[in-house]
Structure formats: C-alpha cells, structure tokens
C-alpha cells in the first residue's frame, strides 16, 4: 500500500514525460493518492497496545551497512501523509492548464509530481537513508519550477533556495552519519524503528560528542525549516515560485525538517535536546519577533506570505522546545494546520497575480468587490493563519502555549521557556497586524478602475480551496480526531529516558 503511494506519483511523472495528457494524469494520480491515504488513516489501529508502526514492509538492500528499503506509518507520519495528499491534490487542481504554459508544459506537471513523490517517500520511510534521500528528490524539481516558470527575481530565488537547501541537507547528512557511527559497530543501522528501540533500552551511547551531533542535526533540519537566522531563502523563493510549487514547498516540504526533529532527533537524543533548549528558544524567538516584524514591513502580498510562513515555524519550534505531551501534540497539529492554511493562501495569491499581474499592495485595493469569492476565502485562510478560534491553527497553538508555559521553575522566577512563551504570544498580535493590514491593502477599500471587471475565481477551481478550508475547519472543531492519531507517537517520543 505504501509502495503504491510512492510509486503512483513517480509513475505519473514518467507517464507525463512520455507524453500522456499531463493534467488528467496528475489529477488522477493525486486523487488516487488522497483516496489511498484516507483509507490508511481510517485503517490505522488506534487502540492502546496496538503496534506503533503499521503497514510495515522492508526490503534488504545492503546487509553490510544495515541498509534496507523500509516503509511503515504511525500516527504522525499518517498526519503528514494526509497533509501531503490534500495539498498535492489542491496544488494540481489550481495549476494552470498545460496550454497556458509557454514552455515544457509536461515538465511542469512532472516536476510537481516528483515533489509529491519526494514528500510522500520521506514521510513513509522508516530508514534514515531513504528518509533523507526522498526529501532531496524534491530539490531539483523546485529549482526547475522556480527557474523556468517563476516570476519576479526568479534566478536569484532559485539559486538561493537550491544551494541553501543542499547545504542544509549535507549538514544534516553529516549529523546523521555521526549518529550512525557513534553506535557500537555491531549495532549500526539506519533503521529508525531499531534505533528507537535502542534508545529506549539505553543502547545509544551518550558521549561528550552527542550534543554536537544533535546540534549538527538540529541546524541541518533548521536550515530546511527556515529557522532564524537561516531563513532568508524562504521568502524570496516562495514569492517567485509558481503557486502550486509554493503550496507544496511551504505547505508540505518544509514540514519535513520538523517531522525529522520529532521522528529522529528528539527520540534518539533527548538528553542532547535538553542541552540545546536555550539556544533553540533564542532562535525561535528570532523567528517570531524578528521575522514577524520583517513581515509587517513587506510591501508585496507574496513576500508577506513567505515571511509569515517562516514566522509561524517559530510556534512549532516552541512546541518542540517545550518537550512535553501538550507542546509536542500542538506542534504536530500546527504542522498540519499551517500546511493547509499557507497552501490555501499561496493558491489564492497566485490567482490574484494571474489576474492583475502583480502582488504589490500599492497597486491593489478593493479586490474583494470584483472577486467576492476570492476575497472571502482569502479572508478565511488569513484568519486561520492568525490563529482565530474555529480553525485548526488555533487548536494547535493553544496547546503549544500551554505546554511551553507549563515549564514552571522553582519559586516565582520565570524559566527561559516561559519567557520565550510570553515573547511568542506577542507573535499572535504581530500576525494579526500584518495579515489584516495585508488583507485591507489588497482586498478592501476603493477599487481601482483597472480592476473593476476582474473575473472571480473560476468555479472549477473553487472546490480545491474549499477542500483545504473545510479540513482546516474540521481540525478546528474536532482536533480530538487528529490528537488521537498522534498521541501514541508523542508518547513514544517522550518515553525515551532522558537520563
């Protein structure tokens, strides 16, 4: 089943390159993937005492290195797979018709399918090697998508994201290699399940190097997640990328790093994670305050969205830094909810650019009048992104704040985590400021004469946006459904003895 999930997008990409009708094939493949993922989510056994990893299959590739093609899912990876399938389906849906693309129409769709395959493979892998490799699979399609079909300063943006992410991946690779080599020689393996078992039984040796290995992995993942101060690749890349690419990258691929922290870094080296908590708190405060203020200063809708997606990573890091059930659950939920909301925002911003040819606030204003549906749904997605109750983002941010603030110290003094939480709470105000300002500048006020006859979002693309918003609302009103899904994973992460 999981093999199929990875194989479908790859086969679809190859078929598209060989000349099959691009849009139909891609839509069919992503729809199939969404259906399969839903089946997996419904089938997942949530009973206490059930196996954490289900649908496990393994194929030994190189016995000497302990390397195998090992797939399997637990609640957390299912949540991420669901996010991937939803965003992929919506992204293909809002992608332009192949006839409208000037160059390489089939390559455009093939690139998108490769990104989907990379993300799916990374979330379904239980082997460090393939977990890493699948993520890299998405790098070059992103490069091509921004470079060939991007807008604005696409050359700079494409180079920046590609080199930054390549560098981040190699830092990560060094960290993973060091982790692998720090194991006793007989026990060396890339198998995440075995590694987790070893961590539970204290089989992963704690040496003076362990914190440095963790730091290497944290920075590697951090670069991929746009952790402050390694975030500069993100806003420009998302601003230049075609809408479907931005949706997939900001919505799904960036979550790979966070998923990696939860899946690999925290459970295998909890002690080292505590060692660097203060550093992480400092950096995430940078994400929320520094990047937040930079977001307010943006004069274009696309760069504002890019910066905002960087800023919101700060909350997820806060949940991870909290390192307790509430915080981690909130982080997992926010990964899901943020992915959906930012994907919807980028899709709508892309539609605006397609119609007006620009995303500068100065040129817009009053766009909601000619395009009521677009204005309304953009508003909903913006509210979700701010964290208004009723949407998944709120349901996720609340436990993060509670979890992080729960780190009470001795006496009346605040702990660093609590201070970071107070700082982070201001982030909510900051998000409200820039989102509402941005919304007002683009959609409210006087309508310029040029824009009075703009067509609204075509009724054939509306369902894609509505799908994303509906799931966001579902997550807002019934967060328990997803909490139940990830709780076993979070418990397993926290069960590893830290001492």
């Amino acid at each position: 089943m999981l093999h199929l999930l990875i194989a479908i997008p790859i086969l679809a990409a190859i078929a598209i390159l060989l000349g099959l009708c691009a849009r139909k094939t891609a839509l069919l493949a992503t729809a199939l993937n969404l259906a399969l993922t839903l089946v997996l989510v419904f089938q997942y056994d949530r009973q206490p005492g059930a196996e954490q990893y289900q649908h496990v299959s393994s194929f030994l590739l190189a016995p000497e290195w302990g390397l195998s093609f090992h797939l399997g899912v637990d609640g957390l990876s299912l949540l991420m797979l669901l996010l991937t399938a939803l965003v992929a389906f919506a992204a293909i849906w809002v992608a332009p018709q192949p006839e409208k693309l000037e160059r390489y129409p089939s390559l455009y769709y093939a690139c998108l399918m490769f990104i989907v395959a990379g993300a799916t493979g990374a979330f379904a892998s239980l082997d460090l090697f393939f977990f890493y490799a699948f993520h890299e699979l998405a790098l070059i399609p992103t490069f091509l998508l921004i470079g060939i079909w991007g807008s604005g300063d696409r050359l700079v943006a494409a180079w920046k994201i590609t080199i930054y992410l390549a560098l981040g991946s190699f830092v990560l690779l060094i960290g993973l290699l060091a982790l692998y080599l720090s194991l006793p020689e007989a026990a060396r393996t890339f198998d995440i399940v075995k590694l987790q078992e070893m961590a539970m039984s204290g089989g992963i040796p704690q040496t003076p190097q362990t914190p440095w290995i963790y730091l290497c992995i944290l920075l590697g993942f951090g670069i991929l997640i746009s952790l402050f101060p390694f975030h500069t690749w993100a806003p420009s890349a998302y601003a230049s990328a075609p809408a479907p690419a931005a949706m997939l990258h900001a919505g799904v691929l960036k979550k790979f790093g966070l998923y990696g922290l939860l899946r690999v870094a925290l459970p295998l080296m909890p002690q080292a994670a505590h060692h660097w908590t203060n550093l992480l708190l400092f950096l995430l405060a940078g994400n929320i305050l520094y990047v937040g203020l930079a977001t307010i200063a943006q004069k274009r809708l696309d760069t504002m969205l890019g910066y905002s997606s960087v800023m919101h990573m700060g909350y997820i890091f806060l949940g991870i830094a909290a390192f307790n059930p509430l915080g981690l659950t909130g982080a997992a939920l926010l990964m899901f909810a943020h992915g959906l909301s930012i994907a919807a925002l980028f899709a709508l911003a892309g539609a605006v650019r397609e119609r007006t040819g620009s995303l500068e606030f100065a040129k817009h204003g009053g766009l909601a009048k000619p395009m009521p549906f677009l204005g309304f749904t953009f508003g909903l997605a913006a509210f979700a992104s701010i964290g208004l109750p009723g949407f998944g983002n709120f349901a996720a941010e609340l436990p993060i704040f509670f979890g992080a603030f729960g780190h009470a110290g001795v006496g009346l003094a605040f702990t660093n985590t609590q201070i970071a939480t107070i700082v982070a709470l201001w982030g909510v105000v900051i998000s409200a400021v820039y989102m509402l300002r941005g919304y007002r500048a683009a959609f409210l006020g006087e309508t310029d004469k040029r824009w009075t006859s703009l067509p609204d979002l075509c009724s054939c693309t509306r369902p894609a946006i509505l799908l994303l918003l509906a799931v966001l609302l579902f997550a807002g009103f019934r967060p328990q459904y997803f909490v139940n899904l990830v709780t076993p994973t979070i418990k397993a992460v926290l069960a590893v003895p830290a001492k």
Binding site: L17, L61, A62, P63, E64, W65, L67, R103, Y104, L107, Y132, A133, F134, E136, L137, L139, I140, F143, L144, G147, I148, L155, W159, T162, I163, A166, L167, F170, V171, L173, I174, L177, A178, Y180, L181
Partner: protein, 482 residues
C-alpha cells in the same frame, strides 16, 4: 589451471587486440576506418565479459611484482569499461576529428585513433596490477606516452597541440620526480618491490626516516600529477579543453582511476608503519583540503563545459583524497572503488553527450547547451542525471560515493575535511546546476532537433540506468570485492 581463468590472460588478450588493430590499419588501407573502431569495441567488450570468469590471485610472477587480487580485477574492469565507452565516443567524434587532420584521403590518419586507446587500456590494466615500483613506472609510461599522441591528435587545432605540449612537458617533469622518489626509497630499503619495502620498513633505522619521507613526498608529487590533485593540477584545465573530447574523458576517468589504485597500493605500505603513517596522513589531509578548495572554487566561474568538467575532475580527486586521508584498512579500498565506479559512469555520460551537442552546435561552451531540453529532451535528461550525480544527489551513484567518503571522514574524525567538504558540495550544486539551467531555463536561437545515433542513445540509456541502479542498490558493486 584453465587458461581462461588465469588473470594474466586479460592483459595478454588486450595486447593481442592492440597489435591486431595496428596490423589491420597498416595492411587494409582501402576500407572505412570506423571498422577498426567496431573491432576494438567488440574485442574490449569480449575481454570485459571474460573478466568475470577469472580467478583472483594475490600474486603472480617472480618476486611478486604482479598482483591480481579482486581489487586489481575491479580496476581492470574499470579500465576496460572506460576504453569501451571511449571507443564508442571516438566513433561519434570522427567527423570533428577529420576536420582537424590534414589528409590525402578521407580515411588517412584515423586508424591510430582507435588502436592507441587499446594500448592505453593495457597500461591502465597493468597499473592496476603493479606491485613493484619498476612495474608501476613502466606501466605508467605506457599510459603517458600513448596519451602524448592522443591528446595532440587534432593536428590542425592549435588548442590540441598546446594541450599536447603542456601534457608532454609536465608529465615528463612529474615522471622525473617519481623516479627520483623511487631512488630515495630504494636507497633506504634496498627494494623496489612494495611487499618487501613493507617488510624492511618494520625495522627502519630512525636515521633513515627523513630520507624515506623525502622519497615518499617525491613519489606523491609524481602520482599527484596523475590524479590531478592540487597543487599539481595546473595542466588539467588546458589539456582537458584542448584534447579531443573522447581523450579528455579517457584522461579524466581512466588515468585517474589507475592513478588512485597505484596511490592506494603505495600508501598501504607506508600507512601501515607507525613511523611514517602520522606525517603522511598529515600531508594527505593538506592535499585533500587544497584540492577540494581549488577544484570547487575554480569550477564556479567557468563558462566552457570541458573546463568545468576539468575542475570538477580536480574536485572529485579532492573527495577521493579525503577518503585516503581518513585511512581505515578495510574501508578505504571499497570507498575509493565505489566512488570511482560512480565517477566513471557519470563523467563518461557527460562527455558523451557533449560530443553529440558539439557536433550539432559547433562548440562546447555551457551556452551551447541552451535549450537542449527542447532540442533533445532525452539527451538533456541524461545530462541532468549526470550533473545531479556529480553534484551528489541521492538515488544516484554519486551520492553513495560521497556518502561513503564522508562516512569514513567522520569516523576517523577528520573534521576539517568534513567541514570543507560540506561547503564544497554546496558549491558543486551551483556549478553543476549551471548546466541544467542552460538546458532548461535558457532559450536557444536555433531550436532544430539534435540528432543522435542509435548507439549513442542506447549508451546514454544504459549509463543513466546504471547510475540510478548503483545509487539505490550498491550490493552488486560491493560483491566484487569479496
């Protein structure tokens, strides 16, 4: 023992093939010369297949000067495979070649272009087996001398002649260093055989240590030239750019692989002796560091594709030196061989496509690749795979090679080299993707489709398949060392 199972048979068969080609070329003047190419391809291919039936043996011959262990056989296969593909490229390259050769008839002067690579191949195979400094020297010279001719083969091209002269002078100089180094080592140990040198090093008088290290340093200079390591890399860009493209590929893959196996065999002796190991490892670390930095940084501003590949070849020598600097007896030969096998596949693929593009566009600047994605989608795809593999993208052979190198380096705590390596890999993504950018982002003025022969297309397909297969399923390559 069955004759076919004797490892010496491989070398003899290649020698016979070379002589046969020369005879045919001399006595059959009427025929189109490409039939020589086909005979050479067939013969080399046959020997390659037969190499899977020989029994590896540790030593052969009097005084243990000839090694035929599984490592030697692996490098012989690499040499055979390289030669096979170089010959295929030579067939494709023929029209460009005859443009630069003054000739009475259309066939004149082309025959040796197919015969000489076979002799080079023999030299490379010999290098893989050589276990005695005299043998190493003789086989090295066989390779170098045949390259003198091949590099300056395009007689009317000033660039080719310049490349030939540069190679001639610098190779002769480096050979001088090499021989001088051997004499110093001989002076200390009274041996030229690597095995006996190792034996006599066990009770080395401390007074002789300096002399030995001096000799070893000179040998490193000589071999550093062959593998294109900094600071002996000066000749590489000009020679690579000027030489006929198939020969550039031959230099960059065959000569480098054989150079590394010789370097491995020599270092093995000296790194197992504590007296010399520490200082030698330091020197290797320095060489690796310099080579990584120079190769990668100088590659970034290049606009000519063959020059880019020249610097890329230096950069890859850097990664291979990292593996040598992180010496670990059991691991190092496997890392080196795996890396070189991947390097062989992707570099040959890149050069093969360059030849096709050069024939259609008249040059090998990166700008000549503009719009290749539209003009020849399959070739552009093949080139993309080659570039990504060279850059070290997962699911390709290049990634697993880098993975092994970095794994060795992390394990032996070479943090300077690891840090440098991470930065240079990121730099690599920039200059390799420049080619991808040209093929897909940029638009060509001429959008006519680029034709490629069926043989070339099939070869590209096979190489792409192998790069991806070896990148995901490494076991078949690893099994060759059992």
């Amino acid at each position: 023992m069955n004759f076919l199972q004797n490892p010496l048979f491989l070398d003899l068969a290649v020698l016979a093939l070379g002589l046969l080609l020369l005879l045919l070329e001399a006595f059959d003047d009427e025929r189109e010369k490409s039939f020589l190419g086909w005979i050479a391809i067939g013969g080399i291919g046959l020997v390659f297949v037969l190499s899977f039936f020989v029994d590896p043996q540790i030593y052969l011959g009097v005084n243990q000067f000839f090694k035929s262990d599984s490592l030697a056989i692996f490098y012989k296969r690499l040499a055979l495979g390289t030669t096979l593909l170089v010959l295929i490229m030579a067939l494709e390259f023929r029209p460009i070649l005859s443009r630069y050769i003054p000739a009475a008839g259309k066939n004149a002067g082309l025959g040796e272009f197919f015969a000489l690579p076979v002799f080079t191949c023999l030299g490379l195979m010999w290098m893989a087996s050589a276990a005695d400094f005299v043998m190493i020297f003789v086989s090295l010279e066989l390779v170098t001398i045949s390259f003198y001719v091949l590099i300056s083969y395009m007689r009317r091209s000033a660039a080719s002649l310049e490349a030939g002269v540069k190679y001639l002078i610098l190779a002769a100089l480096s050979t001088g260093f090499f021989v001088y180094g051997i004499t110093w080592i001989f002076g200390v140990t009274h041996q030229t055989n690597l095995y006996y040198i190792g034996v006599s090093l066990k009770d080395l008088a401390p007074a002789n240590e300096t002399a030995l290290l001096f000799g070893m340093a000179l040998v490193l200079v000589g071999l550093g030239f062959k593998i294109a390591s900094a600071p002996f890399q000066m000749w590489v860009p000009d020679v690579y750019q000027g030489a006929p493209t198939p020969i550039t590929a031959f230099l960059s893959v065959g000569s480098k692989a054989a150079g590394f196996v010789v370097l491995y065999r020599v270092l093995e002796v000296f790194l197992n002796v504590p007296a010399t190991a520490g200082k030698l490892a330091l020197v290797l670390t320095g060489l690796a560091f310099l080579t990584l930095i120079i190769g990668n940084l100088a590659a970034m501003p290049q606009t000519n594709f063959k020059r880019l590949l020249a610097y890329s070849s230096i950069a890859h020598a850097g990664y291979l030196l990292v593996a040598l600097a992180s010496w670990k007896s059991g691991n190092t030969p496997i890392t080196l061989s795996y890396y070189l096998a991947g390097y062989f596949l992707m570099t040959i693929l890149a050069f093969l496509i360059t030849i096709v593009v050069n024939k259609a566009t008249g040059g090998d600047d990166i700008a000549h690749f503009n719009g290749l994605g539209q003009r020849a989608p399959f070739l552009a795809f093949g080139m993309t795979v080659a570039m990504l593999s060279l850059a070290g993208m997962p699911f390709t052979a290049g990634f697993l090679g880098k993975f092994l190198v970095f794994s060795d380096a992390v394990e032996s705590g070479q943090w300077l080299l690891v840090g440098t390596g991470v930065l240079t890999v990121a730099a690599g993504f920039y200059y390799y993707l420049k080619v991808v950018r040209a093929m897909y982002w940029n638009v060509a003025k001429n959008t006519a489709a680029i034709p490629a022969s069926a043989l070339t297309k099939a070869t590209v397909g096979v190489l792409v398949g192998l790069i991806l297969l070896v990148g995901v399923y490494p076991q078949p390559v690893l099994n060759m060392f059992r």
